[in-house]
């Protein structure tokens, strides 16, 4: 192989971080190559050293890291061949390459920009460092680039602050910043992991387009094999700092030879596999629910509906400028006339993109937000409870019946409490049992989520993200609730850990007779978990149906789009960027007329049309249901 053809060649790269005692070997001799104009995916779980590799190539790993090996960069612009690792740390030569010949984008669009400086200022800075353009020319180049990454009004975006943009727009600005000098290599470190599937599809489409338009190569660092299947030309699979398998995307996906690669693929939920097929996480957790307080109660005599939501609406009147891309312009209906039932013992999936109102809805169910109108009734073992009006003892009872599992396993556990304090706190609040009995209950809950007994006195920071999420689940189970509201419980986790948590939740549900409201933006995950699915868009439920119906015969265009936006690790089902690359607001204009209100924008003539078998679709009031089928 002529090594001149490689844009970047990594030879025997090793990185270790010295510690008080010994050191951590993050990368143990990785060799790989990136060819010009191609997308190379670096795949692995968190902790596999893939981000360290990206940073080491750029020379921006912390100075205490001990880096060995060679990273040869063949700059097509100059024809030079440089060993990046031999350049002085933070010296002039490596700085001339960073941002100029090699660009980089990061996972967190929220924190990757300085909130003190305008977007334009931060993008222009790259040109200031690497070019000798006049301020006017620099501005011109920045505006061109902002337009290229999809800002409708580049001049306006130039003068905005990062926190005024939504997550997706911020990631676009980040891409503009990385590409404004037209580098020949882009290192994208988990560029879409923090985004929901529809925004992810837009960003991937953008990266793909820019990559071919600018003829650059890309190192795509990700844990998501679905993304890899749609984006990559070549794949390198790493595990614990070593390459497990490398090759063309065809070879890896059609004939994965290494067990680890096969394991990674089996862990991703897929639409094609039968719904009762169990995901195979790389490391399975054994669930031990024996002895949990009220296991598998008899539910025969109780009404079928556990929670009934009728006509709930909530308008936010905040004048705040866009905070995290979720806040609405003033006076927006975050939740608009939402009605549904949750049946006893089922899992109801609630799906939609960020900002569609699903989290607000979950907060309303938990009495965290008070709706403007509507009624919610909980049918427990005693008399039906009015969720919104409950006071005193009724409210206390309600609190023990409905519990919540949160998205972010880091911030939802207090760092100053031990696992024991965290899990037994609900029991203390409701005065359950003696301290000894509570400790016993905590032990049983720990074994139910598959954590060792020794974990009881440790603090959350000593656990991984997946373990922390399990602790959050144990806390939610402490009071023996009927209904668990799970708000994106796996979207902050790696796919392999995701499979673990999903299986755990399924097992717990079967053993304890729980009911779930499972909120997610990822339809593949919901497909694995849910019995029925409600799809939410712009505060309204646009379609609700049994899970198979939503997955196989979706009617509403928004549901179809969500389905298409899920990346699956299957080369025969790549993402259809044409269909999903548009922002939802733009795509809405193209919906068939029977799903749209009149052009004057009033939603009043939309209603839920019953297609039979519990399948409701939001459509025009006067439409014949046959028109809805394509």
């Amino acid at each position: 192989m002529n090594d001149r053809t490689d844009l970047l060649r990594v030879e025997g790269l090793s990185v270790s971080f010295p510690l008080m005692s010994g050191s951590i070997d993050a990368i143990k001799g990785i060799s790989m190559r990136i060819r010009p104009g191609k997308v190379t995916a670096l795949v692995g779980e968190s902790g596999s050293g893939k981000s360290v590799l990206g940073r080491s190539v750029m020379g921006i790993e912390t100075s205490i890291a001990r880096i060995g090996g060679r990273v040869i960069f063949n700059d097509p612009a100059t024809g030079e061949s440089i060993d990046l690792l031999s350049l002085p740390h933070d010296g002039r030569q490596i700085r001339a390459i960073r941002g100029n010949r090699i660009g980089m984008i990061f996972q967190e669009p929220m924190t990757s920009f300085s909130p003190m400086h305008t977007v334009g200022n931060q993008i222009e800075e790259v040109l200031k460092i690497h070019t000798v353009l006049s301020p006017a020319e620099r501005r011109e180049r920045c505006l061109d680039m902002l337009g290229l990454v999809g800002f409708a009004e580049p001049a306006r975006a130039f003068d905005m602050y990062p926190f005024e943009l939504s997550g997706g727009m911020r990631q676009r600005a980040m891409i503009a910043m990385a590409l404004v000098c037209r580098p020949s290599l882009l290192i994208a470190d988990e560029p879409t992991t923090a985004l929901d599937v529809t925004i992810q599809a837009q960003i991937l489409k953008l990266l793909r387009e820019l990559q071919s338009k600018l003829g650059m190569a890309m190192l795509l660092i990700t844990h998501d094999l679905g993304v890899v299947a749609s984006m990559a030309d070549e794949v390198v699979v790493v595990y614990r700092g070593e390459v497990m398998e490398a090759g063309s995307v065809e070879a890896i996906f059609r004939h994965p030879s290494h067990a680890y690669t096969r394991g990674l693929m089996a862990a991703v939920p897929d639409f094609d596999s039968p719904r009762d097929a169990r995901l195979k996480p790389l490391r399975e957790i054994r669930v031990e629910t024996a002895g949990l307080l009220d296991k598998a109660r008899s539910t025969a005599a109780l009404p079928e509906v556990l929670l009934r939501v009728e006509g709930v609406s909530k308008t936010f009147q905040t004048k705040r400028a866009a905070g995290f891309g979720l806040s609405q312009p003033q006076g927006t209906l975050a939740v608009n006339d939402v009605s549904f039932d949750i049946r006893r013992g089922e899992t109801l999936g609630l799906v939609g993109e960020s900002g569609c109102g699903k989290t607000t809805l979950s907060k309303i169910l938990m009495r965290g937000v008070t709706p403007d109108s509507g009624a919610i009734t909980f049918h427990g073992e005693g008399k039906p409870l009015d969720v919104l009006g409950a006071r005193g003892a009724d409210l206390d009872l309600l609190r023990t019946r409905i519990q919540m599992v949160f998205q972010d396993p880091v911030s939802s556990l207090s760092p100053r409490m031990t696992v024991r304090n965290i899990i037994s706190e609900p029991l203390e609040i409701h005065g359950r049992g003696t301290p000894l009995a509570r400790l016993e209950a905590t032990r049983r809950l720990l074994s139910a989520i598959g954590l060792p007994d020794g974990a009881i006195n440790r603090y959350p920071h000593s656990f991984s993200g997946g373990q922390r999420q399990r602790i959050g689940i144990a806390r939610a189970l402490a009071l023996g609730p009927d209904l668990l509201i799970c708000d994106e419980p796996v979207s902050a986790l790696d796919v392999s850990i995701q499979a673990q948590i999903l299986n755990l939740m399924k097992d717990l549900k079967a053993d304890l007779g729980l009911t779930y409201l499972f909120i997610s933006h990822n339809l593949a995950v919901v497909n694995y978990m849910a019995d029925r699915v409600a799809v939410m868009y712009a505060g309204r439920i646009v379609e609700i149906a049994p899970c198979e119906v939503i997955m196989r015969e979706p009617v509403h265009p928004y549901t179809k789009k969500l389905l298409a936006a899920v990346p699956v690790p299957n080369l025969d089902r790549p993402l259809d960027f044409e269909a999903i690359g548009q922002p939802s607001a733009a795509a809405r204009k193209l919906w068939a007329r029977q799903f749209k209100a009149d052009d004057d924008g009033s939603d009043d003539d939309l209603t839920h049309v019953d297609l039979g078998n519990g399948h409701l679709v939001l459509a025009r009031r006067n439409i014949d249901w046959r028109e809805l089928r394509p």
Binding site: R55, M58, I60, D90, I94, R95, A96, I97, R98, G99, N100, G103, M104, F106, E108, T111, S112, F113, S114, P115, M116, H117, T118, Q122, E125, V126, I129, H130, Y161, F163, E164, M174, M177, A178, K319, R320, A321, A322, G323
Partner: protein
Amino acid sequence: MREMLRYILWRFLVMIPTLVLISMLIFTIIQLPPGDYFESYVEELKAIGEKADMQQIDELRARYGFDQPMPIQYLRWAGGMLYGDFGYSFEYRLPVSDVVGDRLWLTILVSTVTIALTWLIAFPIGIYSATHQYSWGDYGLTLLGLIGLAVPNFVLALVLMYLANIWFGTSIGHLMDQKYLAEPMSWAKVKSILEHIWIPVIIIGTAGTAAMVRRVRANLLDELHKQYVMTARAKGLHPFKVLVKYPLRMSLNFFISDIGSVLPAIISGAEITAVVLSLETTGPMLIRALQSQDMYLAGSFLMFLAFLTVIGVLVSDIALALLDPRIRLRGGSTK
């Protein structure tokens, strides 16, 4: 920008009731101890065996309205301050403004030099400590800083006075040579002040510097690990420019919100140190006035401090809003 102006105007309006409330509180507090200045004066005279002229004292009481009901007394005091009449110091038998006058300038001089020095020393050290975390330099400077924090100012003052007496054979108490005390300003007096000022500056500044180093270090460390620092480095920006433009700028917020407490600190001076060193600053005077129930002096003084605090907070709030777009754009209603 219009929102900004409206915000500033609103803040100014809010200041008025705040100050009125504070003045009532101060008046109540200085009236709380039993008796008034004249009573403690009579007691003092009795203690040294002299007889007080009770008739003269009653006359004085009437003249300063001490026989009037409290609200009237308050209104006279508060009303006077509006046009610059801060009342009369019984102890010094001079208008308050004359008593404070000279000392105020000396206090401002000492404090300003101290604060400037604190910043000049603390910032580079704090930045060094943060960027070289857990290095020997960081440990050494941290140790020094902790010593500086732990040693009480007046102990340091006594030690320095002693050492200066042995090594230089000079008394370093006071802010100037005693012969200049009553004299008007002259070159010789200025020289004398400059000779004396460094000792109080060092003493008062030590603890402040140490505290400031710790805060700069802690705040900067928080910022240094943020993602945007990595982004800036990935652009190819020079490491020093990265430091100054991003994390340092972000860590300055605490420093700006500090302005609110800096202003009153300038005027009150470090009381204890000033007493130990017999400095001609306002600190000892305030303590003395409070002890002897010299109510107009004490009251005006406290009022002045309160006024400076309110102004200081206003200045730091406006500065924060100007410097930090998050506060300016998110908190307000610009959109």
